[in-house]
Symmetry: C2
Subunit: 177 residues, 2 copies
Amino acid sequence: MKERKGAPDEPIRMPITIEEGIDFSIIELMFFAYRDFTSDPDEILADYGFGRAHHRVVHFVNRLPGLTVAELLEVLQITKQSLARVLKQLIDTGHIVQVQGLRDRRQRELYPTAKGRNFLLMLARPQSRRIHAALEGESAAGRLSIERFLKGMVNPELRAQIDHLPGNMSGKDDGKQ
Amino acid sequence: MKERKGAPDEPIRMPITIEEGIDFSIIELMFFAYRDFTSDPDEILADYGFGRAHHRVVHFVNRLPGLTVAELLEVLQITKQSLARVLKQLIDTGHIVQVQGLRDRRQRELYPTAKGRNFLLMLARPQSRRIHAALEGESAAGRLSIERFLKGMVNPELRAQIDHLPGNMSGKDDGKQ
DNA sequence: TAATTTATGTCAACACTGCTGACATAAATT
DNA sequence: AATTTATGTCAGCAGTGTTGACATAAATTA
């Protein structure tokens, strides 16, 4: 019994391409695109002793000032222990302040300070430049396709949440047309 | 001297929207899209005691069978110590085999086994479903816009590399038109 | 042939950011 | 008065990136 149908550890020399209709090309484009998209802020963050998680917190606190800790956890979908580490640092460094809730005094409303707002702008600028460059020459229809695609990649349960963020046309492009 | 121009730790109550022309909406769409895009394979990987790094290695070894360790490091842009950890596990579990280079016997050519190929298909299937759903109803022009955008997000130096992966129309959509 | 460079592997330590489990406090609700 | 809720905190672990140092075998150069 030598070499029956494909010995288990035989090297496969044929590249995978569109097996089963799977588009590996887009899968790896997502990897490359996201890696490079995050690389610019990552470098800046490192200069401040921060990481990517800090960017996310600063981003959403600037986007939704006054949101509570529980709401932030819901948006980020991480545990409170993960958040605590980075949030504490951002508060200690004066980028974010907590304000006790008025209705419910257990809640801590999170707000950016001027320092925190400027910090987000610093992080977002290179990403914005990259986005503008990637959209250069795209028609309005093309841009809509791109936004529709990105939104379509998000789990359906969360799309509503996205619509409620400032500057997003609520309910637009809900999938079917 | 009480409260001059914006006390440093004053909470800012105004949401950030399109300050300086920065599109925060697309920035956070990238975050949500990538997070959910990776969540499906992540769950499967966890069942096998693997992580996202294993997926990447299996992906590129299947896409470029016979590539050397140095070439894989170049594509992934990580250090050999990072790679060593996950590559060793994939070899020990029979997903990948190493073949000594013919021209240069120092090199280790990496190939997937049948097990490794099937594993990649298992990981890629849910991602492919998500992509197809997100592209549903898009015109050919819309799909081109989306691919052009993703490619445009990648650092220019690396775009050539992407073109050389199997199934990618080389040189297509190089930015200018 | 001898010396050097290259491709790869390995050991150790550290950083960041997820996770779980456990426990504490204050405020709201029942 | 008892319970639930919102938040905080301590401790430990996992995955994946990093740097630095050193080892080996094979290729290249002098």
